[in-house]
């Protein structure tokens, strides 16, 4: 929603794809296919973004390829906005919407949440709630194509999540301490999840 306030739909989709996969360059027709947009209109949009220095345009034979310009002074900030909105979090939220009532907390962790992803990096998604592993895999699988990355769902029940944190499980502790992009719930839910159960266990 925030992203649509800031950018038109084509711009959101193009920037989401290119800025969150900055190590790759794409043909126009490829971008059209991956973002479900019309190549004709896309040419103009891409040319404008390249002229502004957000994208790099290169001619390969008689074809044109575009990629993110990492040297653009606002590359980091824009990529961060897109990660938190239409480029990543919104896509995952949409995918999870059919099972949202089975999820208390969902967030992206790992290299993508830190903005340190490489070309082969998975999207690590933590899901806490009543949802089963297979359902999580099935609802997230289709958006791998949109994100151009594999999604690695990690599924915990609230009880197990709490227990592992209490017992000093280094994986859960690290996930809690490091940057996250919240999809369902926020820091408050995360805090409650840990505290509430600590209280009830005491």
């Amino acid at each position: 929603m925030l992203a649509s306030l800031l950018f038109g739909i084509y711009r959101q989709r193009v920037l989401g794809l290119l800025l969150l996969n900055p190590e790759r360059s794409y043909y126009v027709r490829e971008i059209a296919r991956l973002t479900n947009t019309a190549a004709g209109t896309l040419h103009k949009e891409l040319a404008r973004l390249a002229a502004a220095g957000l994208l790099v345009r290169e001619s390969v034979g008689n074809q044109v390829r575009y990629s993110a310009n990492r040297d653009c002074p606002v590359f980091g900030e824009l990529a961060s906005i897109l990660r938190k909105t239409s480029g990543l979090v919104d896509v995952l939220a949409e995918a999870l919407s059919p099972v949202e009532n089975q999820i208390i907390l969902a967030f992206v962790f790992g290299s993508l949440a830190r903005g340190e992803q490489e070309s082969g990096s998975d999207v690590d998604v933590m899901l806490v709630g009543g949802i089963g592993f297979a359902d999580a895999v099935r609802v997230l699988h289709p958006v791998q194509a949109t994100l151009q990355r594999e999604i690695n769902p990690v599924v915990y029940s609230p009880d197990e999540f709490h227990r592992r944190n209490t017992n000093g499980d280094s994986f859960i502790r690290e996930v809690i301490a490091k940057p996250k992009l919240f999809i369902v719930g926020n820091e408050n839910e995360l805090g409650k999840l840990i505290q509430d159960q600590t209280a009830s266990a005491a």
Partner: protein, 146 residues
Amino acid sequence: MSLENLFKTKQLQPHNPSREAVLRLLQAAARNIADARIEEVSLDTRFDAAYKAIMQCAMVALWANRYRTSTSQPGHHQTAIQTLPLTIGIEQSTVIVLDALRKQRNLSDYEGDPISEQALVECIKQATQLYKVVKSWIATNRPDLK
């Protein structure tokens, strides 16, 4: 993708196992499924056992179609899982889950990421189901191996 194409790209090799060899691998899978239910060991080890059973069932499925994976080629676990629709008619929606379990296993074995209870439950469920399906497929389609 067909089994013949995977043979041409050297991901599969021809293989004609004996009835005894098939039985041996299926029995190993059954032992692993039983081990996966032992609650005294860690979730990670139980998951490993269940995953191993999945892999053994997928291998038997290939064997029953007179192929085996080339272990010299990278990604032979992936090949074994991806060929299940071709070998014994497993649905794509199940293959997606099996492949996700394969990735969990990599993260657990090589990065030390813990296996969650939910992932273990699913792995045992899938192993049990795959074992049943491959046995009944053989009974119907390769009675000589039964």
